[in-house]
Amino acid sequence: MIERSVIDHGAPGDVIQLDGVTKTYQGGGPPALADVSMGVAAGEVVAVMGPSGSGKSTLLNLIAGLDRPTSGAVTVAGRRIDTLSESALARFRARHVGIIFQFFNLLDDLTVEDNVLLPAQLAGASRRQARSRAGELLARMGLESFRDKYPARMSGGQRQRVAIARALVNSPAVLLADEPTGALDTATGQEIGALLRELNEGGQTLVLVTHDPGLAERYAARTVRLVDGRLAGAGVGALR
């Protein structure tokens, strides 16, 4: 388990580093993120909390390379990603970043196995390797018997586990979870939280965006708070 100061501006060797990142959306208005600098060490679990519109998802999108900052630098897995071309960014995302969404974002017309295989196939993994890895992950998630099923016929918890398997298929350096329990009932949410904790215990770096202080408290080593796009403070979670 990694420990570090509560408020930090990143440190050399951090797997995620943001330096003076500002994001302003087209159409004006105040910035969604304003001059944010922070770092996440390898193997750390950081929870990002804040009220609606505080910039949590924007922060996650910038780390995932789904969006670009208006200014500042975003470095993930040792690579500055805000200057990459769209193609290079997509390639980077496929290999180094796993994303878990609140509403799972599974592809309904693909089977569970094909959903899990997709990032590996896009990253150019061999068919055999990808299938083997997908099988391994589905077994780990307890979904072996669901590999030929379609997501629409599964429960929320099962779907989120498929999404986690999909996020892990390329063994990403960073796992990003946007409200991973937000669409689940309490028991299932706890089940998913435990799964994420288990992954972190295996060394997986995790950034968790959540509204749920309990989730942050239970599973994150550090909590970053955002208010109106600015870092407002931090706390220490149970994992510390």
């Binding site: 999108n61 995932a64 789904l66 969006d67 670009r68 769209e86 193609s87 997509a90 390639r91 995302r93 496929a94 290999r95 994303i99 974002n105 599974l106 592809l107 309904d108 017309d109 693909l110 089977t111 094909d114 295989l117 997709l118 990032p119 196939q121 896009l122 990253a123 068919r127 379609y150 629409a152 999909r166 390329n170």
Partner: protein
């Protein structure tokens, strides 16, 4: 109930879906333009001569008289004969030999007319102006086209005591072909050769002139009213109609084919666009219903949303159709041999009104459905593909050893089978039109080459040389003919030369005359297209055209008795050849058809050149050898005629329009699919799909329908081409050699079938690029 709200709501929807509104507008623009042009062409092809004859007050009868035999009062008195409803003339006329740029250009009948208009035979100017001074001439379109003469060209008139030249100042059309050119009346005296009797034309319209018998009676009445010998010739309107209709009618089959393809495509695309727009708008309607919009207001909002861009497209389309029709109809008018053709008003009303009605009709059902849906149902209905569709195909595609974006793209169309089917049909129609256009052009190229024999007979020696005597009936003498043969033999570039004689012969039992072409020497190299049988290769054998077989009831392989005037011979019909003419015609050697090889029947020499010999150089050398006093002159064969160039131009225009419509149809489908799947695109991108992979996937969405469409379009186009060429040939009174329709060797057809893929890819490219460029976070948020 306020209607401002729904309409405002709809325009709000339009602004939110600008691209779709633009596609609706564009598709309707192209469809309306295409439909307007198609209807205009169909109208132009429907009895064009009859319409032009009425509009231009065509002459029922053009009577040629010798004005020296009658007084002016007598000539004027004919106007008042019973049954004459209108008369014009007498217009003095002269037959002259024309040269252009030192080359003999043929014999022209020039009439002296002060103006183009008049109670009979309005000559419609298509360019330039009517002659207003000596030295100017307006040419009739038919004669102008013969040699490609244009306004500004300077013609030299030969055979006159004084060097005379005429500058072409205009091109006009006389629907009844009363002259080859018109000059100011005072010019005619200067154009008359020495010793040539004066001539003038009287133009009449009669109460009864619908049949040959009525025209005969009319002519008899005119002839009887004038001193004996005054009337020297006549030209009934039925002859002009026969000539012009046979030209124009040939185009009808393919114009009809393109017009039908265009209209069917318009229907398909509009239906697809509208249903897509309706589905895409469900969510918004659901939201609006939840805040109080009534079902009726929803229907109005919906119809407005589709109707407004559709209306704009229809209006722009009818304008575009009219603009586009101007040059096309101008060419069509030339082909039909009529002066002017315009877009009929009803085409400008029917095309936009019909397509707008179709659009509203297509939108009404879904709009009604949207109105009846509850708010929550409407919101849900606008979402992604219905559950359970296309899953098996996705599963299959995942098992294929294809790059994943390609597999995903290939399986995607199965999520919306109805939309895919409509797109497939649109691509199939578009590809059919393009392949058909290519094939028809190849077929027409072959027909043009075969008809003109330009490939096999590059040079002809014809009796319009500088020494041709003025006036008909005066033919070169035997010594002059022999000089041609000697000159041709002396030319090292001569590969083959054949003398060609023409005369009428009789076939016992067959009413009317049969045209006979007799060849002095080997004629197998002339390159007549053989429809059935073979080219005659032994004495006693002849070939015939289709009209001969139709009229006589004989078949290839039968024997026939031919009366050449000097002998009755029994001939064996060796083959049917491509010779589009309503007159039965027989082709044989001078040995087989005795009595035809007389100086009076000698029409021309056909000449083939040795490899490496230039046509222009050869023609110049022969004409130099023949000298300035020979009535014969060498000319180059021109490839094809006006009909072929107009037909090919029309085919290009029509296929381009159909291709654009098909491409827009694809664009619309891919755009709708992109909108449907925008969230999935965001997921793909979030998972690491690169822009190039997204582009490939989106283009592949349309690949399966395109391949199926290509597979349907290729044989359909072949069948359509064969049927169209045969229909065109039938109107030209001929069959066609098999080679004319066999223009699609398998390799070429396979290549042409790719037109479907090209069309699909071209249509899919814009939305694919948009999808590839979209930021993942934007795509994930956009639903």
């Amino acid at each position: 109930m306020s209607w401002y709200g729904p309409v405002r709501t709809a325009t709000g929807g339009l602004m939110r879906h600008k691209v779709q509104a633009v596609v609706i507008g564009m598709v309707l623009l192209v469809s309306t333009a295409s439909a307007t042009l198609g209807l205009a062409l169909l109208a132009a092809g429907n009895a064009p001569f009859t319409h032009a004859f009425a509009a231009q007050h065509g002459a029922d009868l053009a009577v040629t008289v010798n004005p020296a035999r009658a007084t002016a009062t007598q000539l004027a008195g004919v106007r008042d004969l019973r049954g004459v409803t209108a008369a014009a003339g007498p217009f003095a006329e002269a037959t002259v030999q024309v040269q252009y740029q030192g080359q003999p250009w043929g014999q022209f009948t020039m009439a002296g007319r002060a103006s183009a208009g008049g109670p009979v035979d309005d000559a419609v100017l298509s360019s330039g102006h009517w002659p207003d001074a000596p030295g100017q001439v307006v040419l009739d379109e038919a004669s102008q086209d013969f040699g490609g003469l244009q306004v500004g060209n300077r013609l030299t008139i030969t055979g006159l005591p004084r060097a005379t030249s005429l500058t072409v100042v205009g091109i006009a059309n006389s629907v009844t072909d009363t002259a080859d050119g018109w000059v100011v009346p005072g010019e005619i005296a200067a154009l008359q050769g020495p010793g040539t009797p004066p001539s003038a034309q009287l133009l009449y319209r009669f109460t009864s002139a619908g049949t040959s018998a009525q025209l005969g009676a009319d002519l008899a009445e005119v002839t009887g009213a004038l001193p004996a010998g005054t009337v020297t010739g006549h030209y009934p309107w039925l002859s002009a109609e026969s000539q012009n209709t046979s030209n124009g009618a040939i185009m009808e089959p393919f114009v009809v084919a393109f017009a039908l393809i265009g209209l069917v495509m318009a229907v398909l695309i509009v239906a697809n666009v509208v249903s897509g727009a309706v589905v895409a708008g469900y969510y918004r309607i659901g939201v609006l219903k939840s805040i109080g919009l009534t079902p009726a207001q929803v229907v109005v909002a919906y119809l407005s949303r589709v109707g407004l861009p559709a209306l704009a497209g229809c209006v722009a389309g009818v304008v575009a159709g009219n603009v586009l029709a101007i040059p096309v109809l101008s060419k069509s008018a030339e082909a039909y041999g009529v002066g002017h053709q315009g877009v009929p008003w009803w085409a400008s009303v029917l095309a936009p009104a019909g397509l707008l009605a179709l659009t509203v009709l297509a939108a009404f059902g879904p709009a009604l459905r949207a109105g009846r849906l509850s708010a929550t149902q409407a919101i849900a209905a606008g979402r992604a593909p219905a559950a359970g569709r296309g899953y098996a195909v996705h599963r299959l595609a995942a098992r294929l050893r294809l790059p994943r974006p390609i597999g995903l793209g290939l399986a995607a169309p199965f999520a919306r089978p109805a939309r895919t089917a409509v797109s497939l049909a649109a691509i199939a129609f578009g590809a059919t039109a393009l392949i058909f256009a290519f094939g028809l052009r190849s077929s027409l190229d072959q027909a043009s080459a075969a008809q003109s024999q330009s490939a096999t007979v590059p040079v002809e020696i014809q009796p319009n040389g500088p020494g041709t005597a003025a006036g008909p009936g005066q033919w070169p003498d035997a010594a002059q003919d022999a000089a041609v043969t000697a000159a041709l033999r002396a030319q090292p570039g001569t590969a083959h030369q054949t003398t060609v004689y023409e005369d009428g012969v009789k076939l016992p039992g067959l009413p009317g005359s049969v045209n006979a072409w007799a060849f002095g020497g080997s004629a197998s190299w002339l390159g007549y297209g053989v429809i059935a049988g073979h080219w005659s290769d032994a004495p006693g054998q002849v070939d015939v055209n289709t009209s001969f077989l139709t009229a006589s009831g004989l078949s290839v392989g039968d024997t026939a008795t031919v009366d050449t005037g000097t002998a009755q011979v029994t001939v064996h019909i060796a083959g049917e050849v491509f010779y589009p003419d309503s007159t039965p015609t027989v082709f044989g050697s001078t040995q087989t058809l005795p009595g035809l090889a007389t100086p009076g029947n000698l029409q021309q020499w056909d000449v083939a050149l040795r490899p490496g010999t230039t046509t222009a150089g050869y023609v110049q050398a022969v004409n130099h050898a023949l000298g300035g006093s020979s009535p014969w002159a060498a000319t180059t064969q021109k490839d094809g005629g006006q009909f072929y160039s107009i037909a090919i131009g029309l085919i290009g225009t029509l296929s381009l329009m159909v291709g654009i419509a098909a491409g827009l149809g694809v664009l619309n489908t891919v755009l709708m699919t992109t909108r449907d799947r925008v969230h999935d695109l965001g997921i793909y991108k979030a998972l690491g799909m690169r822009p190039g992979q997204v582009l490939t996937m989106v283009v592949c969405w349309i690949a399966v329908p395109a391949v199926i469409a290509g597979a349907i379009a290729a044989p359909a186009a072949v069948a359509l081409n064969t049927a169209t060429v045969r229909a065109m040939a039938a109107t030209a009174h001929t069959g066609v050699p098999a080679s004319f329709t066999q223009v699609f060797p398998p390799s070429r057809l396979a290549l042409l079938a790719l037109a479907a893929l090209v069309l699909a890819a071209a249509g899919a490219l814009a939305p694919a690029i948009w999808a590839a460029r979209a930021r993942p976070v934007v795509a994930l948020r956009t639903e």
